[in-house]
Subunit: 499 residues, 2 copies
Amino acid sequence: MISNKTYQDLVSDLQRINRLRTALELLEWDEQVNLPSGSAERRAQEMAALSELIHRECTQKRIGGWLEELGTESNTDSPECRTVLREARRNYDRAVKISPEFVARKAALDSRAYHAWAKAKEKGDFYLFAPFLQSQLEMAKEEAILIGYNEETTYDYHIDKHDPGLTAAFVDRIFTLLKVDLLPLIRQIVDSPVKPDTSIFKGYPREGQEKFLRQISEKIGFDFSRGRIDTSMHPFCSGNGADTRMTTRYDIDNPLNSLFSAIHESGHGLYEQGLPPEHLGTGLSEAVGMAMHESQSQMWENQVGRSRAFWDYWEPIFREHFPAQLANVTSRELFMAINSVKLLPIRVDSDEVTYNLHIILRFELEKKLFSGELAVNDLPEAWSDSSEEIIGIRPKTVVEGCLQDVHWSGGAFGYFPSYCLGNMIAAQLWYAVKEFHPDIEEDFAKGEFGRLVKWLRENVHSKGRQYDTLELTRQVTGQELSPHGLIRYLKERYLPLYS
Amino acid sequence: MISNKTYQDLVSDLQRINRLRTALELLEWDEQVNLPSGSAERRAQEMAALSELIHRECTQKRIGGWLEELGTESNTDSPECRTVLREARRNYDRAVKISPEFVARKAALDSRAYHAWAKAKEKGDFYLFAPFLQSQLEMAKEEAILIGYNEETTYDYHIDKHDPGLTAAFVDRIFTLLKVDLLPLIRQIVDSPVKPDTSIFKGYPREGQEKFLRQISEKIGFDFSRGRIDTSMHPFCSGNGADTRMTTRYDIDNPLNSLFSAIHESGHGLYEQGLPPEHLGTGLSEAVGMAMHESQSQMWENQVGRSRAFWDYWEPIFREHFPAQLANVTSRELFMAINSVKLLPIRVDSDEVTYNLHIILRFELEKKLFSGELAVNDLPEAWSDSSEEIIGIRPKTVVEGCLQDVHWSGGAFGYFPSYCLGNMIAAQLWYAVKEFHPDIEEDFAKGEFGRLVKWLRENVHSKGRQYDTLELTRQVTGQELSPHGLIRYLKERYLPLYS
């Protein structure tokens, strides 16, 4: 470890800035969980003021000075220090290219666009949101140019922003590969005469759902002494390992929605809680990227949460919470309903098989929005056309179509691919775990999840950002990131159920 | 109005800083409402980092430059500008005397001391909190000295901090006056053979309490589209008119506790929501001081909320929420229980008559803590002795004694007197309202509160900080701040009930 004062000064400033960042994140969390409807404008102003200030702190000349003094990261033998310096330099180099005015404008837009999206969705009117989406798209391009990308590669910047090192071309290649095997597999499943009955999920009071999902979340290892679960329109996980805020949402006629959202967000939460707390604020305590983050949430949601072993343990408890609702439902009927595969217009309602099509749809549209091939005002039509082509369903309304997701309202372009890449990594990690612990599923049947958490902690969480997405995947699984693991897993899980 | 650029720059910076402040306040709100137990240390660090940054913004040389350029406030004829400049100058002059290091240390201490207090209260062990209280007292004295007070007047600084212009000597004088009439009045009431039966308040489920208090809070005018009510260990109101966060707490065997806390906090909330929103961040949109703030909460809680007219309207609704619990309770029994006067060890459980003794007790102890006559470690004993002497009750435990209030954990010395001064102002304002609207209580009986809100808006809220506590009281009531109104009001309200 470099032990000189300059390095310590740098780290201590990074930690201080990180505290300001998580303060800002709390404002964002509160905006989605608690904010009174009439307070949106004020919150936008608060977040803009704080974002601008944080940006100013991140771009202070002294940070540049320290980084220069510390030279290139190769000056040190410690891989930890190299990670800290590499990430600090990358962040600094990018931050100084963005003006405080841009940051304040972006923060204010994020907040206003979120509320415009929520209103547009409520009213079913895309054009209430369109001008905000247009502004987000323009700012996203502007940001990419400022950072040093050119007109043709602005979308690459946004892919890289969520998953350092990845490009649109890489995603394109891997999605094309995925489609080759995924489309026939989906055909095979949806054409099967086996049709799970999801109408069994009617009238599950919220109280029971809340208790049940909390039991599961606790049992799989989410630490509620350093975290919470609340309710929001769109489930998410924010904060850090010291204070992790998850959300879910309740529908009395869809208890799986709140449940799997909670398990999903618990997976994110476990990652955050597994990052080394002593390094919070540096690259050593930051997730690799969103694809790896999604691999964690997806593995808990799918490989674990939809497995037979998992439900061997949880089914009796689920029945205790909802004895009347489940009285005439057999164990097989319940399990099939949990693993129902069905082409649907809404991404978050979709199963883990068809889900990937939703991501491919969004990726295609994002590419076109960035290239200029598609205008924001034409999005509803383009979405419907693509949905029909890729998923085979034409959404009935914009609420079922291009207004369904929150992401673009926050300018989070290039984020969606992470979900599908995360699915691939999750499957690859899953086979790696099973190689190490061939009997891991027997744990789940006993309600034990400690060995899996430990393996993930050691192999993924504790690594922070020492390696990028592709390198960490390679190191842990011994394979390149590819769709093969996902296809193998989906076949092994679903073909027996649907034949 | 001064319309030059310097003035606009100053105001716009004050508004920006205010947005950062309310961001910090949200962190404090969240700490008391939502924070997971294991996240306290992280929150302390976040608040320290943000406080330090805000302090740096407040003490920027350019603010000093603008203020100098704008000269003394007498340079302008506009009273609004004079107020803005006077307050800005006062805040700036004080802020520059405090180092960033002090601010960060204080913020971290506030957060840690709060959690130490909560733990000490839970365990009933004062000495878990004593070192934090000691630190708070030392920092409070240090702050006063830094601002320019001397060793003998450190407590004056803290009185002035909450109520600009007031001193410990003034409070001493007015409390001495109050005691002359209050002590015999209390004697007369508690010696009365009339003993309200408060045992009728058993088994009032939280859900009903929540609904009822929200109905009242809405009806008296609190705007829930710009505010919320949540639950915390100690009820409070924070935020600003654009996003007002109140709290209460529930006890199924004490529905009046949650209710009157909510009415009280609604009074604070109405004041915040009544300050001119366009001037937020300047003295034109800031409450006069804590005594005036408390006058608002106390008037709604007491003069309004405990009146016969108020309950003529609300009693039937209360009975609808709790038909079984109130089935055998007569209207008079209910009203007497609402207006029960009883000497109790806990301030927040006390009625509006004996409440003032609790404040006198705290004021006496604070004076001694600041003069050094009383050591922190001797506080439990001193509290018990004073409680016995002033209230006539020796607390059984420290939880009933010196650990009962949250204030000192946040270093809020000099705040308690505001409650009692607020009671006095509330009574004075009450007689002023009644002079203007002699039939105002008839409104309450019809569930109408608009005329009262309007009067308070016009005479108090809209004034911001244009006048100080004494001057505004004089202007609105035509009288000097004194205990006479309070004594008159207490006699008129309670003597008929207890004779």
